[in-house]
């Protein structure tokens, strides 16, 4: 009988310990659950293209205004989904929202807040930086028609360097990407076959190449793979010390993805669409665009018109459009033109709690 009692004690003892432990965890979480996201925090998600600059903004803004910004670089598609599902306070996408996506988002606005270029990076051992390439050649590489670096079409425009006999491994974004949207928009203008066979979008049916997730994934694959070629925001090329091409623009010049080239390209479109869209891909020939880099893009911030975090969002986006742009040039983000800042401020006025 005594054994019975001790066993019962042990049983209840054991169960009590488990329950106490579990309750402690529950109590701790419940006590904090009273407060919603702490007053000074903003959560964002989206494109990897502007992520390097946003990372700097996170540090600088928190130091200046004591508001914590967190940003999940999951790709433009992820950003659009996140703001649609209301899982974040702001989204970011290089690809502007389509009418369908605006409908699905139900009360969202976009405005451009970052301006930069998509670099075409390559890993050819022994090659100099800024080899030359054209849109037509790039399209054929990603169509699988040009397979080796020593193809005469590539060699012809790079007479200063003997191209090696090495297979080309094109790398593309496997996730839903605004950079893909930018790059494929460019390929659409450069190759009729690309436009009819593949088209443009945040994801497309790539006829050739290997996929990697995120701009950093693409850079990672390229840096590890000899003969690889891929596209990502120029900040990633610099960060990973990858070489990138000079791409031929419509004026016939080979332009680099630098601040000069971006500034020239930005002039290609100064007229906003009703949804604040600006398209500066492959600017037309003409004196103004002599130095334009043909694969530039704005990146957009996505906001809900009605947002609980409006009081924090508006100052942050305003700061990003103005003071925040000063941190861009070091990472090859061209400060946005004044008319973009004005348009952004006007749009922001629509955002309310």
């Amino acid at each position: 009988m005594r054994a019975f009692a001790t066993r019962r004690k042990r049983f209840f003892g054991g169960i009590s310990v488990l329950l106490v432990a579990a309750s402690a965890v529950a109590a701790l979480s419940v006590s904090v659950a009273q407060a919603r996201s702490s007053a000074g925090e903003l959560k964002g998600a989206g494109a990897t293209f502007p992520a390097p600059l946003i990372a700097v903004w996170q540090q600088r803004y928190e130091a200046a205004k004591d508001v914590k910004i967190t940003y999940n670089p999951i790709g433009s598609g992820g950003g659009i989904t996140a703001i649609t599902n209301k899982t974040v306070d702001f989204g970011a996408s290089d690809a502007p929202l389509t009418p369908d996506q605006f409908n699905a988002c139900n009360g969202c606005v976009q405005l451009p807040w970052v301006l930069s270029a998509t670099s075409i990076m390559y890993n050819i051992p022994g090659a100099p930086n800024n080899l030359r390439i054209t849109g037509a050649i790039l399209a054929d590489i990603y169509l699988g028609k040009i397979k080796n670096w020593n193809d005469p079409r590539i060699q012809r425009i790079n007479r200063g360097f003997t191209m090696p006999d090495r297979a080309i491994t094109p790398v593309y974004r496997s996730d839903s990407s605004g950079t893909t949207y930018n790059y494929t928009s460019y390929l659409n203008t450069a190759s009729r076959e690309w436009k009819s066979r593949v088209g443009k979008g945040t994801t497309v049916n790539w006829p050739a190449g290997v996929g990697a997730r995120g701009s950093s994934g693409v850079s990672g694959v390229i840096s590890r793979t000899e003969g690889a070629l891929g596209y990502a925001d120029v900040a990633y090329a610099l960060k990973n010390k990858l070489k990138f091409f000079s791409v031929q623009n419509r004026a016939g010049n080979f332009a680099r993805p630098g601040l000069v080239g971006i500034r020239a390209a930005a002039q290609a479109d100064r007229k906003f669409s009703p949804t604040n869209e600006l398209s500066i891909v492959n600017p037309p020939p003409g004196k103004r665009f002599r130095k334009a880099y043909p694969i530039c893009t704005y990146s957009y911030v996505l906001l809900r018109i009605q947002s609980q975090q409006a009081a924090l969002l508006k100052p942050f986006v305003t700061w990003a459009l103005t003071s925040g742009q000063a941190f861009g040039p070091a990472l090859v983000f061209q400060p946005v033109p004044k008319y973009v800042v004005e348009r952004g401020k006007t749009t922001l006025r629509r955002v309310h709690p």
């Binding site: 965890v25 979480s29 996201s37 700097v56 899982t87």
Partner: protein, 300 residues
């Protein structure tokens, strides 16, 4: 029996040399295979240990992630938010799955008519066989779309994975409890519920704790359900289960794909923390299981 059909061949001793050779070859192959498996295990765990050990530090375990932007001083970066997030999410999963699993097993073992028990057992087995990614998508479309992610929903998803494990482990332990105990208690006039709670269950507690611990260790490493329910997270330590919380498996998953070698090192460190946790809990659980099984079977 098929052994008979072979005996006529076995009797032919003039082929003994060749048969011995074949035997040796097969034994060698078996040994090599076992060594291969051990080698792979050593390589995998060894890589994690070697590369992760360099990342482990007090800062790593107590600080939150800091992105290296190239501006200013490099700051120590850690996975404290992931560790706490995992603890909360797994805690919620245990809170949900343990009671339901134990009660389910009690019903199936002690109270249910045999046919009902068979059907419900089958349902549990089917639930066990559903891949974690499908559970993740289920919770995503059922709870997350339009409402947002949260640690609670992540814990709920993990509890669905845990439930069959806990139930099955409890069932096995309950079956081990000798029937004489139940009969004796009932014969003494105790009600069925009294018998179950005060006589049967205490005997089984050891096994239940073991099963629950093993299930927790298994589920702590699951990534797929977290992908859908708790992936858009902040870098701060967050203890609010109504929001998405960072977790160690998600941290490893995200960091593995990046190009930055510093993040890779952190991923190895996080993997080491995860494996250490799983290893220690599994070993403790098994030691406890051996002890309690000995106790149940020893006392009769």
């Amino acid at each position: 029996m098929s052994a008979d059909s072979n005996t006529s061949q076995i009797f032919r001793t003039e082929r003994i040399g060749r048969r011995k050779l074949v035997n040796h070859l097969v034994e060698a192959a078996a040994t090599v295979s076992a060594l291969l498996a051990v080698a792979v295990l050593v390589i995998v765990i060894g890589s994690v240990a070697k590369r992760g050990a360099g990342a482990i530090s007090w800062d790593f375990l107590t600080k939150t992630p800091v992105i290296d932007t190239g501006f200013g001083e490099p700051q120590p970066s850690g996975i404290a938010n992931a560790i706490i997030g995992t603890a909360i999410i797994v805690g919620i999963a245990v809170l949900l799955a343990l009671p339901v699993g134990v009660l389910t097993a009690i019903y199936l073992n002690e109270l249910a008519p045999k046919r009902v028990s068979a059907v419900l057992s089958l349902a549990l087995d089917v639930l066990n066989g559903i891949p974690a990614i499908v559970i993740g998508i289920f919770v995503f479309v059922f709870l997350v779309v339009g409402h947002g992610q949260s640690g609670l929903k992540a814990g709920f998803a993990l509890s669905i994975l845990m439930l069959p494990m806990v139930a099955r482990a409890t069932q096995e332990v309950l079956a081990l409890v000798p029937n004489s105990l139940r009969e004796a208690s009932l014969a003494l006039g105790a009600a069925k519920w009294r018998t179950t709670l005060s006589v049967v269950l205490p005997q089984a507690v050891g096994g239940i704790v073991t099963g629950a611990t093993l299930a927790t260790a298994r589920v702590a490493g699951e990534t797929a359900p977290l992908l859908f329910t708790s992936s858009l997270v902040s870098d701060e330590i967050n203890t609010n289960p109504n929001e998405a919380l960072e977790s160690i498996p998600m941290f490893i998953f995200k960091s593995a794909e990046q190009a930055d070698p510093a993040l890779h090192e952190q991923a190895w460190g996080a993997a080491l923390v995860l494996i250490a946790f799983i290893l220690i809990t599994s070993l403790l659980a098994r030691a406890f299981a051996a002890r309690s099984r000995r106790r149940i079977l020893g006392e009769r």
